[in-house]
């Protein structure tokens, strides 16, 4: 549990309840889910039929590899390979997914066949032939042709996961061969072969050299980063949060030198039935997330925050979405070299099918490019905020960040300055 080790564990009462994730059509019921009726798979039905009739898949992996969390520390690892040979890089490029219709997005991901092989996480240090091939694939940054041989025809399993993008039919891997030499950026090669560099340092270095987050997550999950004796496979869903968190920590540590922004500002963007609204308040860095799920007229709210002087603690209620939302805000503030207190409101509407936390990161990143309004007064900006979100403002009475700004006085109000 890599990301939990970074934090002091919160008390039992703060544990979040299991969030139900389900497809609105079949309700997540295995018996009802059929390839024939699934509206999301309309476009790929033909392709999937073809895939499911053969034990061998040949195609260009975007590149992509998947490590499951089931059975940890003995996990299912393997490459994701679509049965087509083309430029498939879009299949792994979160940044451009916001512009695709949901149905297209699901079809695209589901058309990739997932090879599975039970592997012990420590095996990342001395990989088998198969794992070596997967690791090499993971280091690549352009689509790479892979031949995947399964023990029998792949089967499609229904259901969507909360934290990561959906995957397609899967089967146990017998053999995986890279059909071409992968293109590996020099910096990736250098950092992967540095067995004395800590994983956290490796992540910053890759990030600073402009390596995409997706790529860093892949390297991290395949156990290619860090001190040799600590390298291990990390389930994809945990890796995503670990990488978001580590980059965020690095940006956050440099923020405190910067001056405060001088006005209240609101940023907003929405896509795929998700809306992210960010309120920036002049002040020291602090951050709070309200994650709101609207379902059938009711509303479920998850909420976490970090204030100055708070102990370092895992956001038990919001989970990975917390780090995914924090990163783009830190990126923006670092870019303008300013400090601010941030309140992020993520609203999720009916129609969204759980495809992972990437959409929060990408929507938030877009949001930070669109300033909706700014003001000199907290009350004015809150009134404005009330108009552009569906969350009733009274919910924000719970906000630790807002309460802090309304109540906490500064010494400068009481002392003379010279």
């Amino acid at each position: 549990m890599v990301q939990l080790k970074l934090y002091r564990f919160a008390g039992r009462s703060e544990f979040r309840e299991e969030r139900r994730v389900s497809c609105p059509v079949c309700g997540g019921d295995f018996k009802k889910c059929r390839l024939e009726i699934c509206p999301y798979l309309k476009d790929v039905r033909e392709l999937l039929r073809k895939v499911q009739s053969s034990r061998i898949v040949f195609g260009s992996s975007p590149p992509s590899a998947f490590i499951g969390s089931w059975g940890y520390p003995r996990v299912l690892a393997g490459p994701l390979v679509p049965p087509i040979q083309a430029d498939t890089s879009l299949m792994e490029d979160y940044g451009s997914w916001l512009d695709l219709p949901l149905q297209k997005l699901v079809s695209m991901r589901v058309s990739m066949v997932r090879g599975k092989k039970p592997v012990k996480i420590e095996d990342a240090r001395n990989p088998s032939r198969l794992l070596t091939a997967i690791q090499e694939l993971g280091m690549a940054y352009t689509p790479t042709d892979v031949e995947l041989e399964l023990d029998k025809e792949p089967v499609i399993r229904p259901g969507f996961k909360l934290r990561y993008a959906p995957t397609g039919p899967s089967g146990t891997v017998v053999k995986a061969i890279l059909a071409e030499n992968p293109t590996i950026p020099r910096v990736v090669d250098k950092i992967v072969s540095d067995i004395d560099l800590k994983a956290s340092q490796a992540i910053y270095k890759l990030y600073r050299s402009g390596i995409g987050e997706q790529h860093i997550v892949r390297l991290f999950s395949l156990g290619l980063l860090g001190l040799k004796r600590w390298r291990r496979l990390v389930p994809t869903e945990w890796s995503i949060t670990a990488v978001d968190d580590q980059i965020g920590r690095w940006l956050r540590s440099r923020l405190k030198e910067y001056d405060w922004i001088n006005m209240y500002e609101i940023y907003q963007y929405e896509a795929h039935y998700n809306r992210v609204t960010v309120l920036l308040i002049p002040g020291p860095w602090m951050f709070e997330v309200f994650e709101v799920w609207y379902r059938g007229g009711s509303m479920k709210i998850y909420h976490d925050s970090e204030l100055p002087g708070d102990p370092d603690r895992y956001p038990e209620n919001v989970g990975g979405a917390y780090h995914a939302l924090r990163l783009p805000i830190l990126e923006k503030l670092s870019e303008i070299r300013r400090q601010a207190s941030a309140l992020a409101i993520a609203e999720i509407y009916e129609g969204w099918i759980p495809l992972g936390v990437w959409r929060f990161r990408e929507i938030c990143r877009r949001a930070m490019k669109f300033r909706r309004c700014k003001s000199n007064s907290l009350n004015e900006i809150l009134a404005e905020l009330g108009k552009i979100i569906d969350l009733p403002l009274r919910v924000l009475d719970e906000s630790r960040v807002l309460r802090y700004h309304k109540e906490q006085k500064q010494l400068t109000e009481f002392l003379k300055l010279f």
């Binding site: 020291p284 204030l307 708070d310 906490q408 006085k409 010494l411 400068t412 009481f414 002392l415 010279f418």
Partner: protein, 254 residues
């Protein structure tokens, strides 16, 4: 211009720096014939430390004129952590070279360790004078205050501190419930209360805890000074020096 100071105990200086670090990570010390001083606010302008170590604390003290020295206290702490029990510490600073030299010598004088720390550029900041008047004053055992703050943390982020003629009261309210600590004037934890009426204000537990914890290893008692909805002053009496803090209040329903 340069300055040189020898202190009998490196540990003591280390504890002092920990107490300063509770408020600032980087600080400018003003050094003259009388001693070294630092007054600084944290970046959020919520707490302030007023620190002074007078020349009488030193076995040897040499200072020509007035000088300023800016150091990263967390870097300085890395060196001071290397100090062993019973070692003495000599600080010497050369303003031209921008280097602070720390010499640690053990009790028998058989081993000498020299650390050199690069100091930082001094940025002329607005200075503050921590002069405020207060309506009430209480001298209390530091451990009782530390526990009261910690206990309040169970239910809330902040605590209401009240000083009335008979007692000092810490009250925290949260969703979980309330926590109240009452230190009565009759009890052993309260040495003295000077108050004509009841005064109170709310303060962040994070800041209180961060300050009281390191200061508690330097002093057994704390002088709390308070007025209603005004900053609190916490003074920790230390031999030949001054260690005082101010914390800005939170004002409910403002």
């Amino acid at each position: 211009m340069s300055f040189r100071m020898r202190l009998p105990s490196a540990d003591y200086f280390s504890d002092l720096m920990k107490a300063v670090q509770a408020v600032v990570d980087e600080g400018t010390f003003k050094i003259d014939q009388e001693g070294m001083k630092l007054i600084a606010m944290d970046p959020a302008h919520i707490s302030l430390v007023d620190f002074e170590l007078s020349s009488s604390a030193a076995e040897e003290y040499v200072c020509e004129g007035e000088l300023q020295m800016t150091v990263s206290i967390s870097e300085l702490m890395k060196f001071l952590k290397r100090a062993k029990k019973g070692e003495s510490l000599t600080l010497s600073y050369d303003e031209g070279a921008k280097k602070l030299e720390l010499t640690l010598v053990d009790a028998t004088g058989s081993r000498e360790k020299i650390f050199t720390l690069n100091t930082l550029e001094t940025v002329e900041a607005r200075s503050v004078t921590p002069r405020l008047s207060f309506d009430a004053k209480a001298r209390v055992g530091v451990d009782a205050v530390k526990d009261a703050v910690r206990d309040s943390g169970v239910v809330s982020d902040y605590v209401k501190i009240t000083i009335n003629p008979d007692a000092v009261v810490f009250l925290a309210k949260g969703e979980l419930g309330t926590v109240q600590t009452k230190l009565s004037k009759m009890g052993a934890a309260v040495y003295e209360i000077e108050a004509d009426k009841e005064v109170w204000a709310h303060f962040s537990i994070n800041y209180l805890d961060k300050i009281v914890k390191p200061a508690s290893s330097l002093s057994d008692e704390v002088v709390m000074q308070l007025s209603t909805n005004k900053p609190i002053k916490l003074s920790f009496p230390i031999p030949s020096g001054r260690l005082e803090y101010l914390i800005a209040p939170r004002i409910e329903g403002a």
